[in-house]
Amino acid sequence: MIPATLLTNALLVGAVLFCLGLVGILTRRNLIVMFLSAELMLQGVSVTLVAWSRYHGDWGGQVLVVFVLTVAACEAAVALVFVLQAFARTGRLDASAWQALREENLPRVIDHGLPADDRVVPTWPHLSPAGVLPEGDDSRSLERDHV
């Protein structure tokens, strides 16, 4: 392809990645997914940088990408520590659990559109035993019934 077309397509890909990440950070409530979206934004920027670097023939862009990847890795470590601490304090990965720094006379934002948290307990099919029953309790299964 001619370099201009390649550049355009690559920039488009980068832009799409970036926008998806942006939307994800603003919209998703799960802390880990929010972080994932942030990483996605970083990757979008990286693609853009590589595209420009390839276009201009300047290695600077790609060098910067290496830096970005490094920093992203460190930032991931720090961020996941925060997420772990947050989970440890509230037991939830919901970003809207942290509203205490709002103005005093404002009501708490409660999302009434969530589906009810009814955890359906699935019934697994019961096979007739074939062979020797394993050691241990039957009702204690290794699978969790919800994710």
Binding site: Q99, L101, R102, E103, N105, V109
Partner: protein
């Protein structure tokens, strides 16, 4: 000698000022010795005043013969230049304004307005300084005993010293603006002293009333000062020299006084004089501004003795005496002074006859005696002016004595001063009783006490004006007599007295031709020029009426004074229960000043009269050396006819008082039940307070309520409403801070988007 005397002059106000400052700074720490700085300051000032008096007397020498005019004595000491405004006058005064004296040598367009802080020493000032510091010292010593258990002990002495400073500066200042400043200062000190016990509502109200009524007078003085500046181009009393060598004649400088055409007559002149009269009425409690003085008795008795008897209330008399040359040009204004004085004297004496509060009797007595002084001042003769100052001096002594005696009684009776509640105190407090009796005799005009002589001179001056031909067997030929304005052409003959300067008719005096005869009068007294307007009051029949009013007042004075004496000190001994263990003679700190003042009251009259010391001393005052005043100088003589009339009036008064009250219980039925409705009129003080309340106080209170409502509802409401605006804004914007991180991030994204869009818009091709 002259300069050293003038240098000493600054010490007289300065030492009490230092005493006041020390008392303010160290008062609390000195505790029971808080009186020391103030008393020391006033005492030192009294010593200096005595030295100044002797020094000035030395300069004057002795002139007992009025045919030889005395050389006026004055010494000026300028301390510093307070303010100078160059080119203060815009444009010329209209030339059509006849008789406006432009000071010779001053550039007419753009005079320099300069206020030097200058003090002057002349016989009038020296006399008054002696009175102020002397009586001030005695009152301060008395207060050591009277106020000794008062929590505001240091504050009292600071205020008394402050007052002595202000009053000394007032009589020593050589500039009308300075006089105004210290006029206000003594008013402020009076306010502070009347309201000394400010937690007592009546005292606070009385202080406010005194200050506001004085304000009316101060307004008059302010306008008079403005008019003086406009008319004379300067406010100094003395002649000054400008930087470029021109001499600015002072308003009461010797050049201007000697020049008969030096003063403006007509509307402006009369206006200045009447405004000064208004100011004097305010300060000296004459009608219609007398209403503050009786209420001022709410203050401590030593303050009443000092301020409202002896010194501050004499400021008005000082002002008029000092401005005598100004007044001599307006006989109508002079007659108004006498009319005001005589009316006040009579009305106040009538009110005093039915008062039951000893201090109120003395307050109305003060108003009445000040009226006497005004009557004498208004005669416009040398005898009148000197009689007024003589009466001022003797009145200071005996009135201070009476007030301090009343304070002694009040102290012993535990704060009770209603005469109907105690009696027969001469057995309980003999020294107070004796000195009070001496003071009462002096007040009533019993010979040979001080008041007799001074009252005799006042009545004599009135009599001379009332009977212009009766006093002179020697009508001198009028040749050479100046016929400038202000000389009662039918007045006392000059007997060939030459004025200080020969009556050289300058071109300026022709401008006054409309008022004077304009020529050297060689005809007899019958050719009195027709007087117009206010001056038509200056007629012998007016003076006859005033004479009889004064005589009646003398009789009433004797009556109410001795009524008070008999009710308080004679009859069966009665002590009110508030007295407790206080009912005994006062300590020496209080009785010693009483004894000193009693000695002065008894002897000063005889001494000053028969030696003619005071009159000849005062005749050397520059203000009284106006040719018009000098022309009326008479030989000092004892007038037996007047003396007999005065003594008879006093005797009748004392006799009636004795019939009614001598030896009786003080709460026995009063004599005023014979007065009927008149008694109610007198007891209600001629309804002055009620009239003022209806005419002035109530409308002002209504106005105050309206403005208070406006201030609270509209002005405050507006400000509060403006204050609500940020609050409203804030509560709107506050909702943005929800605590949700994602919403914050959204805000950031929106902002970045806005910037990007703006950039793109800017960079569009």
């Amino acid at each position: 000698m002259q300069s050293s005397a003038a240098n000493l002059l600054v010490l007289v106000p300065l030492l009490p000022l230092l005493g006041a400052v020390c008392t303010v700074l160290l008062g609390r720490r000195l505790g029971p010795r808080a009186h020391v700085p103030a008393v020391a300051g006033i005492g030192a000032a009294a010593v200096v005043a005595l030295l100044l008096l002797l020094g000035t007397a030395n300069q004057v020498g002795r002139h007992t013969d009025p045919k030889h005019p005395v050389e006026p004595v004055e010494m000026i000491s300028t301390l510093w230049q307070w303010a100078t405004v160059g080119d203060a006058r815009s444009g010329d005064l209209p030339a059509a304004e006849a008789g406006v004296p432009i000071a010779p040598g001053t550039a007419v367009s753009g005079g320099t307005f300069s206020i030097p802080v200058a003090l002057r020493l002349d016989p009038l000032t020296a006399t008054l300084l002696m009175v102020i510091t002397g009586v001030g010292l005695l009152v301060a010593i008395y207060s050591i005993g009277y106020m000794h258990d008062d929590p505001g002990y240091p504050r009292f002495f600071a205020l008394v010293a402050m007052f002595v400073f202000s009053m000394s500066m007032l009589v020593a200042a050589s500039n009308f603006l300075l006089v105004y400043v210290f006029w206000e200062a003594v008013g402020a000190c009076s306010y502070l002293l009347i309201g000394f016990w400010y937690t007592k509502p009546e005292a606070a109200r009385a202080a406010k009333k005194a200050f506001l009524v004085n304000r009316v007078g101060d307004f008059g003085l302010a306008i008079a000062v403005f008019l003086l500046w406009m008319t004379y181009g300067t406010l100094n009393f003395h002649d000054t020299r400008l930087a470029d060598g021109t001499i600015v004649e002072g308003i009461l400088g010797q050049t201007r006084i000697a020049d008969e055409a030096g003063y403006v007559a007509g509307a402006v002149g009369t206006a200045i004089c009447l405004l000064m009269l208004l100011a004097a009425c305010g300060k000296s409690a004459q009608m219609p501004l007398h209403v503050w003085l009786p209420d001022a008795m709410e203050g401590p008795t030593p303050a009443s003795a000092l301020i409202h008897a002896a010194t501050m209330v004499t400021a008005g008399i000082y002002l008029i005496t000092r401005s005598a040359p100004l007044f001599m040009g307006c006989p109508g204004a002079l007659t108004m002074v006498s009319i005001v004085g005589a009316t006040t004297a009579l009305v106040a004496a009538l009110i005093a006859t039915v008062q039951n509060d000893l201090k109120r009797v003395l307050a109305y007595s003060t108003i009445s005696q000040l009226g006497y002084m005004f009557v004498a001042l208004g005669t416009g003769t040398m005898l009148g002016f000197t009689a007024a100052i003589f009466h001022l001096v003797t009145h200071a002594f005996f009135k201070a004595l009476l007030f301090l005696g009343a304070g002694s009684v009040m102290h012993a009776m535990g704060g009770v001063i209603d005469m109907r509640r105690f009696g027969g105190l001469r057995h309980v407090m003999p020294i107070t009783a004796t000195t009070f009796l001496i003071g009462a005799c002096a007040l009533a005009g019993v010979p040979p006490f001080a008041g007799f002589f001074s009252k005799d001179e006042v009545l004599a001056s009135l009599h001379a004006k009332a009977h212009p031909d009766a006093h002179g067997s020697d009508h001198g030929e009028a040749g050479g007599r100046p016929s400038g304005p202000g000389i009662d052409a039918g007045g006392v003959a000059d007997r060939g007295v030459r004025p200080f300067r020969p009556a050289s008719m300058t071109s300026r005096s022709t401008a006054l031709a409309a008022r004077a005869t304009g020529t050297l009068s060689t005809t007899d007294h019958a050719s009195t020029p027709e007087k117009v307007g206010l001056d038509a009051l200056d007629h012998p029949s007016t003076w006859r009426l005033l004479f009889w009013m004064s005589l009646l007042t003398a009789g009433l004075t004797a009556f109410y004074t001795f009524r008070a004496v008999f009710m308080t000190f004679t009859g069966p001994v009665r002590i009110p229960k508030e007295a407790g263990h206080h009912a005994h003679e006062s300590p020496p700190a209080m009785t010693n000043p009483l004894l000193v003042l009693a000695a002065f009251s008894a002897l000063s009259g005889i001494v000053l009269f028969f030696t003619n010391a005071l009159s000849s001393f005062l005749a050397a005052t520059p203000s009284l050396n106006a040719p018009a005043v000098l022309a009326t100088a008479v030989t000092h003589a004892f007038h037996p006819d007047i003396a007999i009339q005065g003594t008879l009036a006093a005797a009748i008064g004392i006799a009636v008082a004795a019939i009614g009250h001598l030896g009786r219980r003080s709460d026995s039925p009063q004599m005023e039940r014979y007065l009927g409705p008149l008694g109610a009129l007198f007891a209600n003080k001629f309804y002055f307070d009620q009239i003022y309340a209806a005419l002035i106080v109530k409308p002002l209170e209504a106005l105050a309520m309206v403005t208070a409502f406006f201030d609270r509802a509209i002005v405050d409401g507006t400000v509060d409403a403006i204050g609500q605006v940020p609050l409203a804004w804030g509560s709107a914007i506050r909702r943005m801070q929800s605590g949700l991180v994602q919403r914050y991030a959204l805000a950031g994204v929106v902002g970045v988007l806005a910037i990007v869009l703006a950039l793109a818009w800017q960079l569009r091709p």
